[in-house]
């Protein structure tokens, strides 16, 4: 098994096929989307491939040390920041192909007009522990 991070972006990913902002959908379309996401996570829990799923607030601040004895420096939030992560799902699958398949399924969540969004999700493999036996 290998773990993968599925990243969903508020902004910064290439445009989805069905690219309509969520507040322009009908309330029923919003509900259908929410249900799809929940059912998807439930199914992965049953198949033993679900690890974690979290949503992030759009607010964010950059922070860095300013040296010993000084408070950290902050910057932002940046209204124009290109890349804003909306949330993630961590899955644990047998193969890379299975991870791709699941990412595709998640990307096809229904959007405006009840049609699949076909949004771009970022798939990132976790670095695992080094194997005891390498050959």
């Amino acid at each position: 098994m290998a773990k993968y991070l599925l990243l969903k972006h508020y902004r910064g990913a290439p445009a989805a096929v069905n690219d309509v902002p969520m507040d322009q959908w009908t309330p029923e379309e919003v509900s259908a989307h929410v249900k799809y996401m929940r059912d998807f996570a439930d199914r992965l829990q049953e198949s033993g491939e679900f690890v974690d799923s979290q949503a992030l607030s759009a607010e964010g601040t950059f922070v860095r040390s300013d040296g010993e004895g000084r408070p950290p420096v902050t910057d932002g939030p940046f209204a124009e920041t290109k890349d804003v992560i909306a949330g993630w799902m961590v899955i644990d699958t047998d193969t890379y192909e299975r991870a791709l398949e699941l990412a595709g399924e998640l990307s096809a969540a229904p959007g405006a007009g009840g049609r699949p969004i076909h949004e771009w999700l970022e798939l990132r493999p976790f670095m695992g522990a080094s194997h005891t036996i390498t050959e």
Partner: protein, 309 residues
């Protein structure tokens, strides 16, 4: 949207309640955090296992074990024989109740159980006020979420699903506390919850009296969150313009500020501004159900506007 005031969690200072027996023995120690106070109380007083507490707060068991043992070290060597700061105890129980609204371990029920014990031991008006507040909110829990997990705002809740036993008990506890004439923030908040519980329909809500109680909460706590909630009540009592005026001068980065602004603009007959503000508020929400709720509000208004145009 929840209209009832939630007070910002603040670091709990220096005094710890250890056991509900005796009269709240407390400890004077260095500063510690609400998270560790909550964890230690649930473990030592509530009798929950570390695994249960970890699950309730969605952290690994090892993390929660560390949090609890740090909290124990913080209070070790302190003599637990002086009567302590009951306010700190109430604050911790309030945190447990507030965070325990969802999850596998029913922390809300646990907080009620502990507060009930405390009321039995102390006869303190604010402890009774907190118990009443918890009971009145707990009574509404079955109606707060739809079967699909979405939030149901107070005005749209099926009041037939409110637990009338809990409401009767909560009102009873509150009335005997108020009769002793030592008002505090929990009694005032419970009074607001009682006024909501008292209305058979949302339209029958006595908003004028609710505003008066929010005035008390603001006077007692000086909390910006209380002012924000008060603005919603003013909007219902005296109209949305008055509500918007009551928002004046409040920090716009307060949680739910944008959502309240959207709501008041909708009530004021400005769906265009309201839709924009709901959409703005959604990604700032502190929970997924709340985010989805606000997105749905924006979607609802935009759909209406398209239908009109």
């Amino acid at each position: 949207m929840r209209y009832v005031s939630t007070v910002n969690p603040k670091p709990v200072r220096a005094k710890v309640w250890t056991t509900p027996s005796s009269s709240t023995s407390c400890a004077r120690t260095r500063r510690w955090t609400p998270a560790s106070a909550v964890a230690l109380i649930l473990r030592a007083v509530g009798g929950l296992t570390t695994r249960q507490i970890a699950a309730a707060y969605l952290v690994p068991e090892a993390t929660m074990a560390q949090r609890i043992s740090r909290a124990k070290r913080t209070v070790s060597g302190v003599r637990f024989n002086q009567v302590g700061d009951l306010g700190t105890v109430l604050r911790v129980l309030y945190l447990v109740f507030n965070e325990g609204y969802s999850g596998d371990v029913d922390l809300a029920a646990e907080a009620i159980r502990l507060t009930r014990q405390l009321v039995g031991k102390t006869r303190d008006e604010e402890a009774a006020g907190l118990l009443a507040l918890m009971l009145l909110h707990h009574a509404r829990r079955p109606a707060r979420t739809a079967p699909d997990g979405s939030l149901v705002p107070l005005a749209d809740q099926d009041r037939g699903r409110w637990n009338t036993h809990l409401i009767v008990e909560g009102v009873d506890v509150l009335q005997s506390a108020l009769a002793r004439d030592r008002l505090g923030e929990y009694q005032a908040q419970a009074a607001i919850a009682a006024l909501h519980a008292d209305a058979r329909t949302a339209e029958e809500t006595d908003w004028v009296q609710i505003v008066e109680w929010y005035d008390e909460v603001v006077r007692l706590t000086d909390s910006p969150v209380a002012r924000l909630n008060r603005a919603v009540a003013v909007g219902e009592a005296d109209g949305p313009r008055a509500g918007l005026a009551a928002l004046d001068g409040l920090d716009r980065t307060l949680p739910r500020h944008t959502a309240v602004l959207a709501y008041l603009h909708e009530r004021d007959g400005d769906p265009v501004t309201a839709a924009r503000l709901y959409a703005e508020a959604a990604p700032l929400a502190s929970s997924l159900p709340e985010r989805d709720h606000l997105t749905r509000q924006a979607a609802r208004l935009n759909a209406q506007l398209r239908g009109r145009g």
